[in-house]
Symmetry: D2
Subunit: 135 residues, 4 copies
C-alpha cells in the first residue's frame, strides 16, 4: 500500500472559482513526499547539512480530474515509481475523503526529482546511503 498523508483544505488553497487552485496540488504532493521521506528516516534540512545536497523537482506531470473545495479532507499518496543514479520518479494521487461516496480521485501526478549540489545546483549522484533508505 502507498504511503498516505491527510491534508485539509483551507481558504489559502482556494481561488475565486470556488475550488482549490490547481497549482496548490503541487504543494500537497510535496507535503506528502516530504512526510513519506520522513517516514523513511529522511529529513531534508538535515540531509542538506550532512551531505550539502538537496532534491529539486525537474519534471511534473499532473492530471486534474475533479475539484476540491473549502473544508474538504484529502488523502495524498506517494510511491517510488522509478529510481536512477541522480533522480527519482514519485507517483502521487490526491483523493477526496467523502464519507458518503468513499474516496474519489481528484488529481494524480508523476514528479521527477533530481539530486543536486546545494551550492552549484548541478546534478550529482544520489548518496548510496540515501538510496538504501528509499528501497
Amino acid at each position: 500500500m502507498d504511503f498516505a498523508f491527510p491534508i485539509r483544505i483551507y481558504w489559502e488553497d482556494t481561488d475565486a472559482g470556488g475550488i482549490v487552485f490547481y497549482a496548490n496540488y503541487l504543494k500537497f504532493f510535496e507535503r506528502a513526499r516530504t512526510e513519506w521521506l520522513r517516514s523513511l528516516g529522511l529529513e531534508q534540512q538535515k540531509l542538506r547539512e550532512q551531505t550539502g545536497g538537496m532534491f529539486v523537482v525537474t519534471q511534473a506531470q499532473v492530471d486534474y480530474h475533479r475539484p476540491a473545495r473549502l473544508d474538504d479532507q484529502l488523502l495524498v499518496t506517494a510511491r517510488l515509481q522509478a529510481s536512477g543514479r541522480a533522480s527519482l520518479t514519485i507517483r502521487q494521487q490526491a483523493f477526496l475523503q467523502s464519507p458518503a461516496d468513499g474516496p474519489q480521485l481528484l488529481s494524480e501526478a508523476s514528479i521527477r526529482i533530481g539530486w543536486v549540489d546545494g551550492a552549484s545546483m548541478r546534478p550529482v549522484r544520489i548518496p548510496i546511503s540515501l538510496l538504501e533508505q528509499l528501497s
Copy 2:
C-alpha cells in the same frame, strides 16, 4: 512570435533552497496566459459573468531546466498549441533575461485548459465567439 510577458522574482517566489519554488512557475505561466487572453480581448471575470463558464486547468506538464533567483527578471511566453471543442492546449516557456548571456530557458510547459460551467464544474463546449477571438 509568441506572446511574452515580463515577470520579476520577489521573496514570495523563492524557497529555502535559494531558488524559485517550482510550483510558482505554474503561477507565472498562468499570469502570462491571462495577459495573452487579455491581449486578445478576453477578460476572464467578464467572461464568467457573460457566459457562466470559466477555464480550469485539466493537465499540466512542466520541465524545469535551470533555477531562477531573487531579483531575476523573467520573460514568460504563451502560444496556442492545439484547440478542441472543450479544451485548449497552451505551450509556454519561461526565460531568464540575462544582460550578459542573453535569454536562458528555465522552464517549459504544456498546459491543457478545459471550459466548464461555473456552477456544475462540468465540461461544456467553448463558446464559438471565444474560439474565434483565440484564432
Copy 3:
C-alpha cells in the same frame, strides 16, 4: 488553555532567506482559527451555505520574534479576545516545538474578523446562534 493546532514547515513555506516567509504566518494563524471554529462545531463552507454570510479579515497585527525553518514543528494557538455585533478579535501565537529548549514564541497576532454578506461583502450582524457557539 488556548486551542492549539500543530503545523509542520514545508518547502512551500520558506523563502530564500532560509526561513519561513513572514506572510505565511497569516496562513498558519488562519488554519488554527479554522480548526478552532471547527472544534466549536462551525464549518465555514456550511455556514455560508446556511446563512449566506462569511468571515473576512478586517485587521491584522502581527509581531515576528524569531524565524522558523524547514522541517520545524509549530504549535499555533487561537483564543477569542473580544467580540462585538459584527466582528471578533482573535488572539493567536505561533510556537516552535523544540525538543531541546521547550516551546519558543515565534510570532503573535491579533486578527479582527468581520461578518459580511457573501454577495454584497457588506458588514452585517453575526448570527446569534453563531455567537452562542463561540462563547
Copy 4:
C-alpha cells in the same frame, strides 16, 4: 508623492470568497517595497552578497477596507515613515484603479523591517551607505 507600483490581480491571488485573499496584500506590499528600494539603487540579492545582511519583517499592521477581485488593477505605494539604527518603518497603501470612480483605498499597512545578519539572523545596525541611499 509616494512611490507607486502597479499590480494586477490573477487567479492565484483570489480565494473562494471571490475576493483577494487578505494574506496576499503582504505580498503586494513587499513587491512595492522591493521596487521602491530598487528605484533607490538597492537590490536585495546584491545587498546580501555585499554586506552579508538582509531585511526581515518584524511587525506588520494591516487594515482591510474593501476587497479586490480577479482582473482588478491595483496601485501600491511605499513611503519611509521612520528609520532607526536597526529598523525602518514603511507606510504602504493599496488602491483599486477604477476608471469609473477613481482610485479607491483597499488596504493600508505599516511594515517594520529590521536589518539582520544573514547567517545568525540577529539584528545588526543598518549599513550607513544603505541609510544614505534611503534618505
